[in-house]
């Protein structure tokens, strides 16, 4: 019966991991299209606020740092589960999720500030492209946080052991991918004038 769960594959690779990498490959096109649109519409807004008037580099640098650090916590969680350390797994999974929550907090602060400064999703084409791109990224982070908290709860209940490290690894792949998307967004949308 155990054998039926994980039959040997033609490549020796796990189906779930391979399927997930394919999904990530597909996601590059999703974010690629969103980013393209932002770039195409750069300078196209006919009314303000314009990007340089609202984008807050110092604050976003901090939130970027938080997200990057959460990626470190994520690999440490994987490292812990592979070593069979339940406490380590739980700690680092929670640390990753908290990093994600802080990032979302920054995003909520950023969106609220922008709205106060007069930039909504309806204001101009910059607002539309910006909110939809960063909003979808934020939605991905939110899904990731839920996923991590679920894994953390399972770990606390003792249901994630060494043999389940793949579950943590796949959640990690998702988390790091969301992180690299932000690396691109931070550079292209925030830093490049």
């Amino acid at each position: 019966m155990e054998i039926a769960h994980h039959p040997p594959t033609a490549t020796g690779l796990d189906n779930r991991k391979l399927g997930f990498w394919t999904f990530i490959g597909s996601e590059t096109l999703f974010f690629g299209s969103l980013i393209s649109t932002y770039m195409v519409y750069k300078g196209a807004a006919v009314t303000g606020p314009y990007p340089h008037e609202v984008l807050n580099i110092p604050v976003t640098s901090v939130s970027t740092f938080v997200l990057l650090t959460s990626s470190l916590a994520m690999v440490l969680a994987l490292n812990a589960v592979q070593r069979g350390s339940r406490a380590g797994t739980l700690t680092w999974l929670l640390a990753t999720a908290i990093g994600g929550l802080i990032f979302l907090g920054f995003q909520a602060y950023e969106f609220t500030t922008f709205v106060h400064e007069g930039l909504t999703i309806q204001t101009n084409v910059f607002g539309s492209a910006f909110y939809v791109l960063t909003g979808f990224h934020g939605a991905h982070v939110s899904v990731g946080v839920l996923w991590l908290l679920t894994l953390a709860a399972l770990t606390a209940m003792g249901k994630i052991g060494r043999e389940d490290s793949l579950k943590v690894e796949i959640a990690g792949l998702y988390w790091h991918f969301v992180d690299v998307v932000w690396i691109v967004i931070f550079t292209l949308i925030y830093l490049i004038p």
Binding site: K17, L18, T28, G32, T69, L72, N79, G172, L173, F186
Partner: protein, 122 residues
């Protein structure tokens, strides 16, 4: 399983469900990558605020963020140590995504337009 697949299995050192500590980088290694990522991010932000670098800002930023992207994908996502099949299913679509971004930027911002509503600069 074919002989080729078995070879590959032994090279990549398991699928995550098998224990092969040698293929998993250490705690220390991950922290070091984390430090490098932080330093690069700091450099990016610093470059942004240095007026002298205004002219070369875009290429510098692209290189730096490309480096960050590569570090995370290679080491945190383990593509460097994992089966090349994973790299394949990720990098091929990634190249298409880059193609789409570059092509659309070129079409809208670089090439002269006949009737487009966004005027080109070329």
């Amino acid at each position: 399983m074919s002989a080729a697949a078995q070879d590959q299995e032994s090279v990549v050192g398991g699928t995550g469900s098998t224990d092969e500590p040698a293929s998993h980088p250490t705690w220390r290694f991950y922290v070091m990558i984390g430090l490098i990522l932080t330093v690069i991010t700091a450099a990016e932000v610093a470059v942004f605020y240095i007026p002298a670098l205004r002219g070369v800002l875009v290429p510098i930023l692209l290189v730096l963020s490309g480096a960050k992207f590569a570090l995370v994908v290679m080491f945190y996502m383990h593509l460097r140590f994992d089966s090349p099949i994973f790299s394949g299913v990720f990098v091929a679509p990634l190249l298409l995504a880059v193609l789409v971004v570059v092509a659309l930027i070129v079409l809208f911002h670089v090439l002269p337009h006949g009737m487009g509503t966004i005027s080109g600069s070329g």
